[in-house]
């Protein structure tokens, strides 16, 4: 067990709570920086995807995990970001400017979608965002003069004021820098009054309101920030694939993003990363295991959906805190070795919180 001796109020909000944090996160950063020399090109590309999805996951985590508003059309923001970035980059805008434009346009769209969120909640919000996702996908497919329609659009290499990023390693570093910046930004946000307000809204809207939190302002802000992060992720996604088409941003992508944060662990920043690792590595694991399964199962096209569904059901039923929750349990078990009790993380069963008449 570790006891932290607190001598200063600032210690409560420090990002690194103790030496262990500093050591392990530095080690992780070092590993990430050294990754291009350690891993083969294919695995580096997968790692880049993990980083990109983590950025989108951070955005969705902020919205769903910390503000309690869940969006079933998040791929739409990803799509808006990707297309804005692709169009602007092809017009010759340098990378940072195009990225900023993509993020701000996504945020603006997020603001618009956030508006119904002020009136509706729970499942209605889910349906509103779902509908919005379908509409955006259709717009991307039909607005052919800009988006190229269903034929898709190619995108040039990123160009940072004359320095063209053309190799996979360079692009990996670009993603790494943006991911680290986004993570630090989210962590900082969460320890600021704004972040606390988000969490208060998640836990109880009524009590948040009575504590003087302006619900409309914070909910729209959460939507905008989340959409902006999704937009950045979309821009990087477009560069990574070098080709985008509307069907990459459909409902299945939205559900994948949700699945990612649920499996990672709703309500934890770690969860976004763990979920992204899961989402990217799962198809690899499935394709590797295909050789060992009987052909009837291994070669069936529905295998991936089946596995995703089963994993999702298993997590919701047995580990609602996701992969991060599992890790917390393991860590607590090791820390308190002989004294871990089974009921320590027992879920509280609440009475059904009705959205209707009480």
């Amino acid at each position: 067990m570790r006891f932290i001796f607190k001598t200063d109020y600032a210690q409560d909000i420090k990002l690194a709570k103790h030496g262990g944090h500093v050591f392990w996160y530095s080690a992780l950063l070092l590993l990430m920086v050294a990754a291009p020399w350690l891993f083969a090109e294919y695995w580096l590309a997968q790692l880049t995807f993990v980083l990109i999805y983590s950025i989108a996951g951070l955005g969705l985590m902020l919205l769903a995990g910390f503000t309690g508003l869940f969006s079933m059309g998040h791929a739409a923001f990803l799509g808006v970001g990707a297309y804005t970035h692709a169009v602007l980059t092809n017009m010759g805008l340098p990378f940072p400017l195009a990225l900023a434009c993509a993020a701000s346009l996504s945020a603006a769209v997020g603001l618009i979608v956030g508006l119904p969120a002020l009136r509706v909640k729970g499942i209605y919000l889910g349906i509103a965002t779902l509908s919005f996702g379908f509409i955006v996908e259709e717009v991307l497919a039909r607005w052919e003069s800009v988006t190229g329609g269903n034929a898709g659009i190619h995108i040039k290499h990123p160009d940072i004021f004359g320095w063209v990023i053309s190799t996979g390693e360079q692009f990996y570093f670009l993603c790494l820098v943006i991911t680290v910046a986004a993570t630090l930004g989210i962590l900082n946000l969460l320890r600021s009054p704004t972040g606390r307000a988000f969490v208060a809204i998640r836990d109880s809207e009524i009590s948040a309101q009575s504590m003087g939190i302006h619900l409309a302002y914070y909910k729209t802000l959460s939507f905008a920030l989340s959409a902006a992060l999704a937009g950045v992720a979309g821009a990087l996604y477009a560069h990574k694939l070098q080709f985008i088409s509307p069907d990459q941003f459909n409902i299945l992508q939205s559900i994948d993003l949700l699945l990612m944060i649920v499996i990672g662990g709703v309500g934890s920043v770690h969860g976004a990363f763990l979920g992204a690792i899961f989402l990217i590595s799962m198809p690899q694991v499935i394709s590797l295991s295909k050789d060992y399964l009987p052909a009837v199962i291994g070669q069936a096209p529905g295998l991936q959906g089946l596995v995703y569904g089963l994993v999702l059901i298993a997590f919701v039923l047995f580990e609602p805190m996701g992969l991060y929750g599992r890790w917390l349990k393991i860590r607590t078990y090791l820390q308190m070795f002989p004294f871990y009790r089974k009921g320590m993380f027992k879920r509280q069963k609440s009475f059904q919180k009705s959205d209707r008449l009480k």
Binding site: P116, V120, I123, F132, V262, G309, L312, L317
Partner: protein
């Protein structure tokens, strides 16, 4: 005449949306959870019918009844195995759980060799029959009624009457109403709320199976037909999420709007019409057409 034609095909499509939406509403009223697997239940129902008719060689009516019964049992088992353990958890977990159920159902069906990946037609006795009403002797300008569409409309009407009678007159239906209004009070009155939740799932699955059997002759049976369930959400919301007649009316409205916008508006509006309608509805009247206007109290 053309307008009427479009309206009729819209109504037929709308009945399907309405039937799926009815499943959402049944489950929502009973357990306050939203099932995203409703479209997949419909798909499973259609496949049940297909298997019963082609592989087992059942006659039409026996096949219909047996697949409805099979789906009802499936719904009850599903509720008992996966839904009941997590009742009382946040709505978000249950939504994700039902999405997971949808994935599994779609994956499993696709994995069945032979029938999973193909699209099949359901051999119904009224296939490709057409009624003509009015017009001159050459048949020009006549109102052409597809019997498949008329079957959908008729079956939906009958089902609505049956459900209405169930909820109005039978002991079971009244108990379900009580449980959906206040679970705790219903429990104190000696109503077996948990068993009723199971029955609500069974009923929803049975309704979904009927929708699947009605839709199958129009579109074909394939693993992805469940995606139509995503269009039933707008129907449920437009009607007001907690209202059974609202679900049917919402479905009809969405169906008609979709059919008319497909004809009179440019390409692309047909697929998004339902979503545009629901977004407008949420902005103007979030409780839907028939929704109860209730304020949440502290």
């Amino acid at each position: 005449m053309q307008f009427l034609q479009l309206v009729i095909s819209g109504v037929a499509q709308g009945c399907i949306y309405g039937l799926i939406a009815l499943g959402f509403v049944l489950i929502y009223k009973a357990t306050e959870t939203v099932s995203f697997a409703q479209g997949e239940l419909m798909m499973l129902g259609a496949f049940c019918g297909l298997v019963a008719m082609t592989m087992l060689g059942f006659p039409y009516w026996l096949a219909v009844l047996s697949s409805i019964a099979a789906m009802a049992v499936f719904g009850i088992v599903l509720e008992r195995l996966v839904i009941r353990p997590i009742l009382g958890q946040p709505a978000f977990s249950i939504v994700m759980l039902t999405i997971g159920i949808g994935y599994v159902a779609r994956g499993l069906i696709t994995m069945i060799p032979g029938i999973g990946t193909d699209t099949q037609a359901l051999p119904v006795p009224y296939k490709d029959e057409i009624w003509k009403i009015g017009g001159n002797e050459m048949g020009v300008g006549a109102l052409v009624l597809n019997v498949e569409h008329m079957a959908v409309i008729g079956a939906t009407a009958v089902l609505c009457v049956l459900l209405f009678a169930l909820f109005r007159y039978s002991k079971l239906g009244i108990a379900m109403q009580a449980a959906s209004q206040n679970q705790l009070a219903a429990y104190y009155m000696g109503i077996p709320v948990q068993r009723l939740n199971g029955i609500a799932w069974g009923l929803a699955a049975a309704v979904a199976a009927i929708a699947g059997l009605l839709l199958a002759p129009i579109t074909f049976v394939h693993a992805n037909m469940g995606f139509i369930g995503l269009k039933a959400f707008p129907a449920a919301v437009v009607g007001g999420f907690g209202s059974l007649p609202g679900a049917i009316v919402g479905g009809l409205l969405i169906g008609i709007v979709e059919s008319l916008s497909g004809f009179y508006l440019p390409d692309g509006f047909k697929d998004t019409a339902a979503y545009i309608v629901v977004l407008l509805m949420l902005m103007v009247k979030p409780n839907g057409l028939f929704g109860e206007k209730l304020r949440k109290k502290v």
